[in-house]
Every structure is written in C-alpha cells, then in structure tokens.
C-alpha cells in the first residue's frame, strides 16, 4: 500500500500528541498513532508507558498540550467524553461503567429512552434491545438486571451501547483482564464482526497471545514515547517483547559496559531469604527463590506476569497458601507486613501514591513511619531524633525541597520515591524489595536511584528489584528471575544476565 492510499483509509489519525502533567511529568512525548477503518489495532506498553494518557486525550477526558487528532478527515477537539462520543469515538473501560441494578435494556438506552408523550416506551425499548444484542449473537432476557450476567456479557452490553451511539472508532481498554478463555472468545467474535462492518478498534491489552490472535496492527509505547508501529502478521514475538521492554540493540551493546562485579558473595552460605515452593493460588504459582546478602536479584517479566505478587508474598502483604519462607535457614510465617518489618525487610511498592506515601503527612513523618512502627506506639521517637533521621536521609538522598515539614504530597514523584526509600533505609534493613523504583520519575532521579541500588548492594543488603526496564535491570542485577503467566520460568546468572537472554526468556512460548 502506498502512502496516499494508507492516508485515505486512516480513520483516526493522531500526530505529535504531547501531554505534560502538573509537576512536570511528561506522560506523552510527540506520539503518532493511526487506526484504519476495518482493523483491530493493539495498543501496547507497560504501566506508565502512556497508554491511559493517550486514550484519555483521544476521548477528551484529559486535554492535550500539543498535537492533532483527526477523525475521518476532520480535526476534532473533544473536551469531555460526551463530545468524543458525539464525534464517533466510543470507549469501553476495563471496569464496566454501567449500572448493575438496572435492566439490560435500561442500560442500553439510558439517557435516550424511546418515549411517547414523555413516557418511556418499555416495550419498544425491550424490542430494540433484543434486536441490538442479537446482532452481537447474544440472546438474553433484556429485562433482567445487568448485574446478574457474567462480566463478558456486561462487556458486550457496554460495547453494544457504545457502538449503537453511531461510533466509528471503538476503544477497548483491557476488556479481557477479568474474562476467562471462553468469554474472551465471545468477545473476539463481536470484535471481528464490528471490524467487518468497517469500524476501527483500538484494543488495549497486555496479553501477547491475544494480540497475535486478533489484531492486525499494533503500536507500542514506552515511557510516554512512541516505540513503533508494526503489522502483527509475521512479527516475531521476540521483536515485540523487545519493543515493549528493551532498547534497540546498538544502544544496548554500549550500555553493557558494566563488568559484572567480582563476586564476593559466598554461594555456599545460608541465604538471607529462601522461598521453597512459595505460592498463592490465583496470584503466583509456587516458586523457589534464593536471596543473598550483597546481591541484587532482578525480577523481570511483562505486566501481570506475577512480579508484584511475588514481592507481596515475600513481604507478607498477601499471605502465601502454600510453600515456606526461610530467613537465615529458619522457617518463618509472615502474617503481615509488620512481621516482615521485624525481620529486617523493607518494601517500596509500585503504586507510590496509594501504597507508598501518606500524602497528608510531612516528609519527616513519612520517613520515620516504618521506624516508629517497629518501635511500637509506646516508644515514640523524640522530635529531635525524628529531625535527625529526616535530615540525614534528606541530605543522603538529596530530597528536594529539603523542608522536612512540607506535606509529602506536594513533592514531585521522584522525591516522593526517594522519601519512601528513606523510610525503609531508616530502619536499617537487611532485605529490601523495590517494585519499579524508577517508574514515573525524571531522568536525574532515575540515575540517582540506580546508583543508590548499587551502593546498597555493596553495603551488604540483599536486594530484590522489580523493573520493566530490562536494560536497567541487567545493569545492576547479579541474577535475574524471569516470570511469565504467573510462573517463575527462568533464572539467569553470571554471564547469562544479558538483555538478549532476558528478552528471549520472556518471549518464549
């Protein structure tokens, strides 16, 4: 297809879209994105890649700073969801945004019920609802409450409603996350049908199998930037994983200037932490893991592969339902994070705002929180001691602004992350778990945190680091465990720790 032809069949065309959030975080950097009529287009990327922001700017929920959005040859400027809908962009979110207590028919026609003399024509509404859903191969009682049906049916009702509002482009934001295999197939049938009607479908997912099963083309975002656009047919899975997680090869080779540190770790000694067949049904399959002091173990894998779940089991946030955790060779049972804290563990969670910082409290209080929790409520840290600890870590980690009494919610993401890190360092931990420590923070803070990880490791801490950035993880990890579909599938050590090997393990089927 030549250039002119492809331009002609473009249904949704986005050019140089940019978005910077207050606080200076650049969520989208001049991203191009094109959806053609009659195609299913996968939008891929890890958490924080910019997928959500891209969708929100298309649907008008977030206003763009710069760039153009063209729909069917006309530039559009939706300022909210309704305007985008009116222009022809329909969106179905992961959590179905319908009303479970109303009937299926009422949900389909909410806000636009057929009326006569101001009264809702229930019979007409039911008839048209049945007709509409039969078009999707769904024959259900439309007068029953929506909540009684499976999530898959609810999704199809949501799609039917969205599409019936004269849509040209349909955006499906992770619709398959809560569906089982059979339900996914039902959804795919509907998607193929809409595609044959000439609709352009944007499909956000993190299941690569589904991308190969149903999509025609795909676009990958990473750290707010466009990585590339490809045709799915003939694209090797390895290539796709590299687009999502890795840098292109030349860059990687130069980045691999690091020589593996001379191993000072005594491999024969009793490991600080050992997991034996540890697992939790529905979260992560039973796995073995060894974590030694003075060593960085990296956890790599795609979103939803069980990385965070592994960390949560080891820190006792979730309780394992099988297997055993040993600390210094002794079996321990963690009933909660407090037990892990007493054993000298620390955990910086991925979701900084909801699980990391306590936004209202000051930087000082955030830093001393875990230290105080370990001391117990009866032994309060004196104000002098609090100031000492806070000042020391504010200096050590260069937290800005260096005002310990400022509410932490007012700091930038990178400084919040450093403060959460300080909270655990203040407890003098021997095992530190970092879940995506460099996510969503600016380049300067990024480099500082990686330097810090290396330094902590040299000081003899046992570190478990989760990251979507493969080139980052191979630069500091002594060993890398690769996860896929909630299983620990490979462990790479020594010279095997290369970006190539990690990516191959993730992509293997």
């Amino acid at each position: 297809m030549n250039q002119a032809e492809s331009e002609a069949s473009d249904l949704l065309r986005i050019r140089r879209l940019s978005k910077t959030y207050p606080g200076g975080f650049r969520a989208l950097k001049t991203v191009d994105f094109t959806v053609r009529a009659g195609e299913i287009h996968a939008l891929l990327g890890e958490n924080g890649a910019g997928k959500s922001t891209l969708i929100k700017t298309i649907t008008g929920i977030t206003l763009r700073d710069d760039g153009e959005v063209w729909l069917d040859g006309r530039e559009i400027h939706p300022r909210n969801g309704e305007e985008a809908q009116a222009a022809g962009i329909a969106t179905v979110y992961q959590e179905v945004a319908l009303l479970p207590n109303l009937s299926v028919a009422q949900n389909l026609f909410l806000g636009r019920q057929p009326t006569r003399f101001g009264l809702v024509r229930e019979g007409e509404m039911g008839r048209r609802s049945r007709q509409l859903l039969q078009g999707f191969g769904l024959d259900i009682d439309v007068s029953a409450p929506l909540g009684e049906f499976s999530v898959a049916v609810q999704h199809i009702v949501a799609i039917a409603r969205a599409v019936d509002l004269s849509a040209k482009v349909l955006i499906l934001d992770e619709p398959t996350a809560s569906l089982d295999a059979r339900e996914v197939e039902v959804l795919f049938t509907v998607m193929r049908q809409l595609k044959s009607q000439g609709m352009g479908i944007v499909f956000v997912t993190h299941f690569l199998d589904q991308v190969h099963a149903i999509c025609d083309r795909l676009t990958v975002l990473r750290n707010g930037g466009l990585v590339g656009e490809r045709t799915v047919a003939g694209l090797p899975r390895m290539e796709l994983v590299r687009m999502m997680l890795g840098r292109d090869l030349e860059a990687v080779e130069t980045a691999r200037s690091r020589s593996h540190r001379d191993t000072v770790v005594d491999r024969g000694a009793v490991p600080a932490v050992q997991a034996v067949g540890l697992g939790k049904h529905g979260a992560v399959a039973p796995f073995d893991m060894i974590l030694r002091e003075g060593e960085v173990l990296g956890l790599s894998g795609l979103l939803g592969s069980g990385r965070t779940e592994t960390a949560r089991l080891i820190f006792g946030v979730d309780r394992a339902d099988q297997g055993e955790l040993r600390v210094d060779g002794t079996s321990v049972r963690l009933l909660g994070p407090r037990d892990a804290l007493r054993l000298g563990f620390g955990f910086c969670p991925e979701e900084r705002k909801t699980e990391g910082i306590v936004a209202e409290l000051s930087v000082r209080e955030n830093i001393i929180l875990a230290l105080q929790a370990r001391a117990g409520w009866l032994r309060p840290l004196s104000r002098k001691r609090q100031d000492e600890v806070a000042d020391r870590f504010i200096k050590l980690l260069d937290i800005r602004p260096d005002d310990p009494d400022k509410p932490i919610g007012l700091l930038s993401g990178g400084n919040q992350q450093k403060a959460v890190l300080a909270r655990w360092l203040a407890t003098g931990p021997r095992v530190l778990i970092l879940d995506e420590p460099t996510r969503g923070i600016d380049v300067g803070a990024h480099a500082e945190i990686i330097r810090l990880i290396r330094k902590l490791c040299d000081e003899g801490l046992a570190l478990l680091v989760i990251s979507s950035e493969v080139e980052e993880i191979v630069s500091y990890a002594d060993r890398v465990t690769v996860l896929r579909d909630r299983h620990h599938v490979a462990e790479l050590t020594g010279d095997e720790v290369t970006e190539q090997r990690v990516l191959t393990s993730i992509a293997a089927t």
């Binding site: 994070p337 407090r338 969670p349 990391g356 306590v358 875990a370 909270r423």
Partner: protein, 327 residues
C-alpha cells in the same frame, strides 16, 4: 493590603469568644460568678458544666473521624452506661458501679471496632447497628422504667465539685489531659493520622492499622460511657429513652466545627472539644435570651453550614482569588 491568614484554631477561638460576647449582650449577668456551698455558679460555668458530655463525646469522636470513620452509637452508649450505673449505684460500691458502666462503654467500642476493622463494614452502617440496638439494651437494663438512685457517690459525678469546679468539668478536663498524653505523648497520634490518611500505605509501613481502628472506637465508647455516667448522675436516674438522645449529632458537629475534614488524617483534640463548647455556648445563649429553644436547632444548623462553607475548597479558592486581586 495584606491579610494575615489565621493560625490554626484561631477561627474557632474567635467564634467561641464572639458567641460568649453575644451571650453577654443578651444577658448582662452572663460573666457573673458566685461561690455557693463551695461550688462555682454562673452562666459561664454552666456552659462548661452542661457542655461536658458533648466535650467528652467530641474527644472520642474526633479520633474515630481521624481514621475516616464515624460513630453513630455514642448516644445509645450513653444510655446503656447510664442505665448500668443507675441500676448498680445503690446495691454496689461506687468502684464496681463505675467500673461496670465504663467497662460496658469499652465493650461497645470493641464491638464497633471489630465490625469496622475486622469485618470491614462501613463505619456508618456498623455503628448504626448499636445506635438502634443500644437504646433497646438500655431499656432492657432499666426494665423500661426510669431507674432512680440515691447513692451520693455516684451523684457527685453530676452535681459535685472539686475546688469549686463542677465535677463534670473536672472529668472532661482530666479526660482531655489523658487523651492528649496518650495521643501526643506516644506515637499513637501519628499512627492514627497515618491510618486515616492512607490505610494501605500505613499497613505496608508496618503500622497495625487494625489495632489503631479498634482502639479509637474503644476510646470513643469509653468517652461516651463517661458522658452517660455524668448525665445519669446529674438527674439522679437513668432515662433509657432520652439519655444522650441525638447527642451523636452534636458530637459530629463539634468535630466538624473544630477540625478540617471528615476525610480522615490530621486531627486536633483541643479544637474538637472547643467545637463542643461552641455548641453549648449557643445553647445557653438561646436559653438566656428567652427565645424559644426550638430556634436553637436552626441556629446550630446555620453555624455548621457557615463553618462547612468556609472549608469548601471552591470557596477557599474563590477567597484566595479575591485576596490576590486586592493585593
């Protein structure tokens, strides 16, 4: 023109003084004090004396609200503890009588705390259960009658005095001092604020958020039962139907007047207690003025509306814009 923004709490102190001054205008002898039988009397003393139960409820409620909860059962708990105290007063020693009444309050708090923290029922629903059931329990204890007693020991809690200060005021002040020592002298205050502001992050930081939640409901139950004892001692009897009726709303109002937000986090015990005093000062003022007491409710509602409006983010933003414009 520059406007110095008020220091934390100065708005509440200002409101309290303003209401006292209005009371003085309405009733010129408002600030008069006289000593009679070794006990202070006067309208101002009355504000503190009558306000003691709500002050106690407010210092319990403020901690519950700091954890993003609410306790609707405090009025009912007052009725229960009052009933227990009145029933036991003439047959048992004051120690057992008081211990039972306050113990019942702690138990009620434990019940609420378990419903909220362990069973994860929404606080407003969880405490509604005891709000409804509690008055029934109180009636069962009093067997549907108004139980009167003659014990002078128990009566002291309502009508007695210490160095001229009415006993309810002494008790409220002692409770406040104990609460301040517990909350600010230990790390409890920080942990409660952290739990209210972000429970999940606090749990991950190693704080026992469940214990914190149960503890604040127990403290709230304890304060309510002490308030119940004071009210029963004051009338020398327990009226299960009317003791503490609607006082949970006064307690919530007091916290709202004294504190910044119902969404948990930062709290101030002293300002919540001051909120209780403001409410009582209004009550007393209306009684002294001779206006019908029905007006009381409307005025109270108006004051709360004004306080809430002053805290609305939109209004604050509007005010800031206004200030920028004049600068």
């Amino acid at each position: 023109m520059s406007i110095v923004l008020p220091r934390k709490g100065s708005a509440q102190i200002g409101a309290f003084i303003l209401i006292l001054l209005i009371n003085w205008l309405v009733s010129p002898q408002f600030f008069d004090l006289r000593l009679q039988d070794g006990r202070l009397f006067g309208s101002l003393v009355d504000v503190f004396n009558r306000g003691a139960p709500v002050m106690l409820l407010a210092m319990g409620m403020v901690l519950v609200i700091a954890t993003r909860g609410i306790d609707l059962s405090v009025g009912a708990v007052m009725a229960i503890s009052g009933a227990v105290a009145a029933t036991l007063a003439d047959s048992h020693s004051i120690v057992i009588c008081l211990g039972a009444a306050l113990g019942v309050g702690l138990l009620c708090g434990l019940w609420n705390g378990i419903l909220v923290a362990v069973l994860r029922i929404q606080p407003i629903v969880a405490t509604l259960i005891l709000m409804v059931a509690g008055r029934g329990i109180a009636q069962l204890i009093t067997e549907g009658r108004i139980v009167t007693f003659t014990s002078r020991d128990l009566a002291w809690f309502g009508g007695g005095s210490l160095f001229g200060v009415p006993a309810p005021v002494v008790l409220a002040v002692v409770a406040l001092v104990v609460a301040l020592a517990l909350v600010r002298g230990t790390a409890l205050g920080l942990m409660i604020e952290a739990t209210g502001a972000n429970a999940e992050a606090s749990r991950l930081a190693g704080i026992d958020t469940r214990l914190m939640t149960v503890a604040v409901y127990m403290w709230c139950g304890f304060c309510a039962s002490l308030a119940g004892v004071i009210v029963a001692a004051d009338i020398l009897g327990a009226d299960a139907n009317n003791a503490g009726l609607w006082l949970e709303l006064d307690a919530i109002l007091a916290v709202v007047i004294g504190g910044p937000s119902l969404f948990g986090g930062r709290f101030s015990l002293v300002l919540a207690v001051l909120g209780g005093l403001i409410i009582q000062a209004m009550n007393t003022g209306i009684l002294l003025s001779g206006y019908p007491p029905e007006l009381n409710l409307v005025i109270k509602a108006t004051v709360v509306l004004v306080v809430l409006l002053l805290q609305t983010p939109r209004l604050i933003a509007f005010k800031d814009r206004l200030f920028r414009g004049t600068r």
